[in-house]
Amino acid sequence: MWMKPADIIDLPRTHNNAATEILLRLYVTGRTESAARAIATLSTLQQELGAHKISVEIIDVLEDPIAAMNDDVYATPTVFRIKPGPIRRLFGNISSPEMVVAGLQLADNRD
């Protein structure tokens, strides 16, 4: 679907707080529907867990393809659990906090 340039460019700023227990890294290609869905889902998860507990980096592959290659991203949207290790990857329809918790095995960190 055609998106207004403002919708595409206006990605949330990345937040990288090394002190948080959980660090997620989301790769998107601008604000496609799937990207918007993933961003909204991770935002909800961050609200549920608290910004002191979970931080989310958002990287646009078009702007930083080297980061995408280094993390072995094969398609967007993909979210990685960077911390705690081991690194785990969730690709595809990122549409609910429960899916992210289950897919990235965050249950131990949710409480």
Binding site: W2, S34, V61, L62, F80, F91
Partner: protein, 136 residues
């Protein structure tokens, strides 16, 4: 059944997509050029498009721009190497309002299937990264 259109000038690449997807309840159409891909999309509207970026004649950027005229809401994965020089033209296309996702070339058969499942069946795939690396 969901319809997938693969547009790539490389026969082997098109064959790999067909091999990955043909047993998965999808109808697969393939086209060896941007022009042929557009004709295919106009006659049989796809539910998902895999589009090569670098093709002779009408390249992926031009093809996507025209594809959006006939199929504005179809999910499109542009398949390309993640190199800045390849991706630069896509920034301009995006600035003009075109939405698309990216997939890194080359894709494995399982990656192709995961993308199709995500786009068409709202599924997701989760793995430990070190396990994923062993399958490459």
């Amino acid at each position: 059944m969901k319809r997938i259109l693969v547009i790539d000038d490389d026969d082997a690449v098109r064959d790999s997509f067909v091999a990955a997807l043909e047993c998965r309840d999808y109808v697969i159409s393939s086209a060896g050029s941007g022009l042929a891909g557009l004709e295919s999309a106009k006659s049989d509207r796809p539910d998902l498009v895999f589009l090569d970026l670098k093709m002779p004649g009408m390249n992926g950027v031009e093809t996507l721009a025209k594809l959006r005229d006939c199929c504005p809401d179809v999910p499109v994965y542009i398949v390309t190497g993640f190199h800045a020089e390849f991706l630069e033209p896509l920034k301009e296309l995006r600035a003009r309002g075109a939405a698309f996702d990216l997939a890194r070339k080359p894709l494995t058969l399982s990656e192709i299937r995961a993308i199709a499942a995500s786009a068409l069946s709202q599924k997701s795939e989760a793995v430990n990264v070190d396990e994923a690396s062993r399958h490459h």
